[in-house]
């Protein structure tokens, strides 16, 4: 049986650009899928298809067991959408925004009012509830936006880059809210460029690039695909690079990588902290002065670079420019 969010072979072309080039997804109920990729990779378009905003040229999709293309209106009753493209009205107060969204989810006036009050309390917006949203800070606005997506406690949520542009404290707060939601059984699809965010929130990660899912798995599985640990040394003097390289080659499992200008040498290893200690002793014995030495486990950044050949945040053009 397909999951709470399911997509098969989604293709969407905007003019010359194949925004989606055969996206497949399957998110089991109650889990979080992190859709990870650079700007323009197709993350937002995928969410727009699943939230009934864009019709794909090819492929099929279902959300909460309902066919997205056949019954978009029924899907809209079962989803909440939040993030970079689902906004709040800045001239309405927080309370008015939530009541409006409640009414448009077809709650009656009384229910919408009650629900708005509950959500304002829950998201710590009660004090600001009767001020126009224009006066809210970035973090408050995101919380209001998320509250609007939760008005009917939908079983399936979509969040498009929910923490982009937030400071670390607000990001942390929002993460806690999201974790609470998921603990309550909500199925969530989350797009992000922050590998840390995917690492923390998502059960499964799908890496998207050029409109395709190029890898999927848990965070650990993806890291394992990139290879194991590495030792990274930064020597103090350039003339020590050769000696240090020699030593690392003896302890390492593969070729060393040398960055001359930063005096950084990297080698894949297996053996963990014990091996690191040996390497340090050996380098010391050869009189190599070190600025830095570390045992690095692969991060999702490394995974991303290994899979796509470029860094996650390297491409600067905004995905929003692709309609």
């Amino acid at each position: 049986m397909p999951g709470a969010i399911y997509a098969e072979g989604l293709v969407k072309v905007f003019g010359e650009v194949r925004a989606l080039d055969g996206v497949d997804l399957d998110v089991p109920e109650g889990t979080v899928l992190g859709l990870l990729g650079p700007n323009g990779a197709g993350k937002t378009t995928t969410v727009r298809v699943l939230t009934t905003l864009v019709r794909p040229e090819r492929g099929s999709a279902s959300v909460a067991g309902i066919d997205v293309l056949e019954h978009p209106d029924a899907v809209r009753h079962s989803i909440g959408v939040s993030g970079q493209f689902a906004a709040v009205d800045e001239y309405l107060t927080g309370r008015e925004n939530l009541r409006m969204v409640g009414r448009l989810y077809q709650l009656d006036g009384r229910q919408a009012k009650k629900r708005a009050g509950e959500l304002l309390d829950r998201f710590h917006l009660a004090d600001a509830a009767d001020r126009p949203a224009k006066t809210y800070s970035g973090g408050m606005r995101r919380r209001l936006d998320l509250a609007a997506a939760l008005v009917v406690s939908p079983p399936v949520m979509f969040m498009d880059e929910p923490t982009t542009g937030l400071d670390p404290r607000n990001r942390q707060q929002l993460w806690e809210v999201i974790e609470e939601l998921v603990a309550g059984g909500t199925t969530l699809l989350l797009t992000t460029q922050y590998l840390e965010e995917a690492d923390r929130l998502a059960h499964d990660i799908a890496v998207v690039d050029h409109g395709r899912v190029i890898a999927r798995g848990t965070s650990d599985q993806l890291k394992a695909r990139t290879g194991g640990e590495r030792v990274e040394v930064v020597v103090h003097r350039r003339e020590h690079i050769a000696t240090a390289g020699e030593v690392l080659r003896r302890f390492g499992d593969g070729a060393t990588a040398v960055e001359e200008h930063t005096r950084r040498i990297t080698v894949p290893v297996s053996g963990g902290a014990r091996l690191l200690a040996e390497i340090i002793r050996e380098l010391d014995a050869h009189g190599v002065e070190m600025d830095d030495i570390a045992l690095r486990r692969p991060t999702l950044d490394d995974v991303f670079i290994a899979l796509t050949g470029h860094a996650a945040e390297a491409e600067e053009e905004r995905e929003g420019t692709v309609p």
Partner: protein, 286 residues
């Protein structure tokens, strides 16, 4: 509980009135939202008033006395003749308001929010045009007061005058649907404002609004007489009793039956532009 069960519990709880009821309710929610915005951004309403008031004063005192209507250049005659034209021009400015508002909603992502909600198709646009109708009505009230101050009077009774204002409002409502389509097409509020205004100048000037069409070159005169805008101006003038004595009524059908022509044009504009706008809205991307 499986997804399907959870969904079944919450999917479309049809409420009173079925699809039509929902459509009306959702449109009113959106209209309410837009009216709140107007109250919170009163500058917009104030600026919408300044221009027509300036037109009333400038045209009355600068042109009045130089323009002959019904064979006389008496300024008071021109002032009465002019008002229906200014009223009509004012209601067409609802186009720019609707266009800019909807473009702004697209730009800020609100249209995406609305399109992901289980609300009636078209309610976002209907709500906006209804709110604009309220604003247009308020503008007309203020303008009518200014017009009375400079000497404008109705001569055929209150009921006929109200009918005249109703036709003006209907024209304004029709034009706000044109604005809706412009707003959905251009995507930025700035472009919608200028795009919503530019074409209004030839439309309102190649008409009988400010000068009698009879003195225009033939091509312009024909355009002016068939201009939907002229029909409403002529109808309002007739219903207000503002046609000067001896004013030659042109032979074109819309000028001889201005009330019917005005109604037909407005209904036609609403039908066409509502259909086009709702269609555009359904595929809109922010």
């Amino acid at each position: 509980m499986t997804v399907a069960e959870r969904t079944a519990r919450r999917t479309p709880v049809p409420r009173r009135g079925g699809a039509v009821g929902q459509s009306v309710r959702d449109s009113l929610v959106i209209a309410w939202r837009n009216l709140i915005r107007m109250v919170r951004i009163p500058e917009v309403v104030v600026f919408a008033l300044i221009q027509p008031i300036m037109f009333v004063v400038l045209f009355s005192y600068v042109f009045g006395g130089s323009i002959a209507v019904g064979g006389s250049t008496k300024p008071s005659l021109y002032r009465e003749f002019l008002m229906a034209g200014i009223f009509a021009q004012t209601v067409t400015f609802a186009t720019a308001g609707a266009g800019a508002g909807i473009a702004d909603d697209m730009h800020k992502g609100l249209v995406d929010r609305f399109r992901s909600l289980p609300m009636a198709r078209g309610a976002v646009l209907t709500g906006r045009t209804l709110a604009d109708l309220v604003q247009t009505a308020l503008t007309l009230v203020v303008l009518a007061v200014v017009a009375v101050i400079v000497g404008w009077r109705i001569h055929d009774g209150v009921l006929r005058a109200l009918a005249g204002f109703a036709l003006l409002l209907l024209l304004g409502y029709a034009f706000s649907w044109i604005g809706a389509l412009i707003g959905l097409s251009v995507r930025t509020p700035e472009a919608a404002t200028s795009g919503g205004l530019i074409w209004l100048f030839p439309l309102t000037f190649i008409s009988n609004a400010f000068v009698p069409s009879g003195n225009m070159p033939t091509v312009l005169r024909v355009i002016a007489e068939w201009n939907p805008f002229s029909a409403t101006v002529q109808a309002a003038r007739e219903l207000f009793g503002n046609l000067p004595p001896g004013y030659p009524v042109p032979g074109a059908w819309p000028m001889r039956h201005p009330v019917w022509a005005s109604l037909l044009w407005s209904v036609l504009i609403i039908a066409v532009f509502r259909w086009l706008s709702v269609r555009k809205y359904r595929s809109a991307t922010g």
